[in-house]
């Protein structure tokens, strides 16, 4: 299953704003291993993603998130639930 390209692109834009490592960010980028996102940074990124999509993301879903695509899929799921 693929994430909505619009969701993916919004998340990548947010990540670019928050991550200092010079890594090309794409759907398979691993948030922890490739971008070194620690718990503190993840809080800021999640809050920005929440504001961008006007949703609230339960931290429970984060255990299933490893890549940018994983995060985008979770956002798509939450947006669908909200409809």
């Amino acid at each position: 299953m693929k994430a909505d390209p619009k969701t993916l692109s919004t998340i990548i834009d947010i990540l670019r704003e928050h991550v200092t490592t010079e890594v090309d960010i794409h759907s398979t980028t691993n948030l922890e291993a490739d971008l070194s996102i620690d718990s503190l940074k993840s809080m800021e990124i999640l809050a920005a993603v929440e504001d961008a999509f006007d949703i609230s993301i339960p931290i429970n879903v984060l255990s299933e998130v490893q890549t940018v695509e994983d995060l985008a899929l979770q956002i798509d799921k939450l947006l669908k639930e909200q409809e």
């Binding site: 718990s39 503190l40 809080m43 929440e50 504001d51 006007d54 609230s56 339960p58 931290i59 429970n60």
Partner: protein, 393 residues
């Protein structure tokens, strides 16, 4: 992949940190001299990082009460509260806490950690929602995880951020519990409880306040932040610990909710743990009595806190936003923080070293906690020790 392979990153971090200080992970209090002094590395050292806010562990009355309880009731209960582990003294302490906190019901637990674990894992479940302050203690997170509730975080002490989440989640037609702390353990700052109570009412949510660091410290009678901000009746569940101001070990949940007692039968961390030892219960009861009788202890604590805060401020350290018995001193660079921590120890002062990701803002913290038992001379010595490491900040 071996069982321990997943700890490789921890192992690497430990190796890195050991370069800065071999003793950091091996601090042993070789001899306890008093509530404010111990022998560390063979040297008499002032303790300024123990959460021992009122000096109760060494109060003669508390020691005598604990010794007497051992003589009368033995060293341990050997059973859960649901089996053979409920003694009259456990029931008495629950009544005394209810009276002190102006709540109708209290359940005590074997530790403060298990109080949050027991209450949160049982009170809320997968169909409910918890919105918690991002800086909440690990026991609050762990209790939520154990119960499988949906957890949402809001930025530390940010009421607008909380409201944003409440607005979005209120449409879900489910129970919402807001969880915050009275005094936050790392930065020593207070929750904006009055504003949070307004939101709780507006969005028909429940409110849990963990007063672990504020019992005996805040409020005219020492009941905590809710008393200080005059919102006690609006707090649905008060959590607390015996291991700080009361100088013992244990925890509690107090509430006016008439069904609180049902938690005893549903909460696994309550049912399947041995009850608190008689010595711990007796020490906590005596300390609670002293807190009620001696408000001057709180005055003394705050005098010490204000003095150290102002001395560190004068030395231009980056410290917490307001005077508090918990004073965090920030260091941007970890190696310098280690050097400072070692320097303080060499100067006969022990404080807590807190490193990211345990720190809220990614910096390293030297965390001081004051006690009513510190003399003004000791507080001055702590400040002087900080002066010697000023160049590292």
């Amino acid at each position: 992949m071996g069982l321990f392979d997943k700890f490789e990153r921890i192992e690497q971090s430990l190796d890195t940190l050991k370069q800065y200080s071999e003793s950091f992970f091996n601090v042993v209090l070789q001899e306890i001299i008093s509530s404010t002094e111990a022998v560390i590395n063979g040297k008499r050292t002032i303790l300024a990082g123990t959460n021992n806010y009122l000096g109760m562990p060494h109060r003669r009355e508390c020691i005598e009460a604990a010794c007497q309880a051992i003589q009368e009731h033995g060293t341990g209960t050997t059973g859960s509260r649901m089996a053979n582990g409920t003694y009259a003294i456990h029931v008495e302490l629950e009544k005394e806490l209810s009276r002190f906190l102006h709540k109708n019901h209290t359940i005590i637990f074997t530790t403060g950690y298990s109080a949050n674990l027991a209450v949160l894992s049982t009170l809320v479940g997968p169909k409910d929602i918890v919105i918690l302050d991002a800086d909440c203690h690990a026991s609050i997170y762990d209790g939520c995880r154990l119960g499988g509730v949906q957890v949402y975080r809001f930025r530390h002490n940010n009421v607008e951020d909380l409201e944003k989440r409440l607005k979005r989640l209120a449409t879900k037609d489910t129970n919402i519990l807001i969880a915050v702390e009275g005094l936050y353990s790392m930065l020593g700052d207070r929750a904006p409880l009055k504003e949070i109570v307004e939101l709780k009412k507006e969005y028909n949510a429940y409110l849990l306040v963990d007063e672990a660091h504020s019992l005996g410290v805040l409020g005219r009678n020492g009941r905590g932040l809710a008393e200080e901000q005059d919102v006690e009746d609006d707090v649905d569940f008060v959590i607390g610990t015996f291991s700080k101001s009361l100088g013992s070990v244990g925890g509690y949940c107090s509430s006016n909710h008439h069904k609180l007692e049902l938690l005893r039968y549903a909460s696994r961390p309550y049912v399947f743990t041995a009850s608190s030892s008689p010595a711990n219960i007796a020490a906590a009861r005596k300390a609670l009595e002293i807190i009620e009788k001696e408000p001057q202890l709180r005055t003394r604590l705050w005098e010490n806190a204000n003095l150290l805060y102002s001395r560190l401020k004068d030395l231009s350290f980056t410290i917490g936003p307001a005077p508090s018995p918990i004073i965090p001193v920030r260091f941007k660079e970890i190696p310098k923080a280690f050097a400072a921590w070692n320097g303080l120890l060499e100067n006969g002062v022990y404080v807590n070293m807190v490193l990211p990701p345990a720190t809220p803002d990614g910096t390293a913290l030297l965390r001081c906690s004051l006690s009513a038992a510190h003399s003004l001379e000791q507080v001055e010595k702590i400040a002087q020790a900080f002066e010697t490491i000023r160049h590292l900040a």
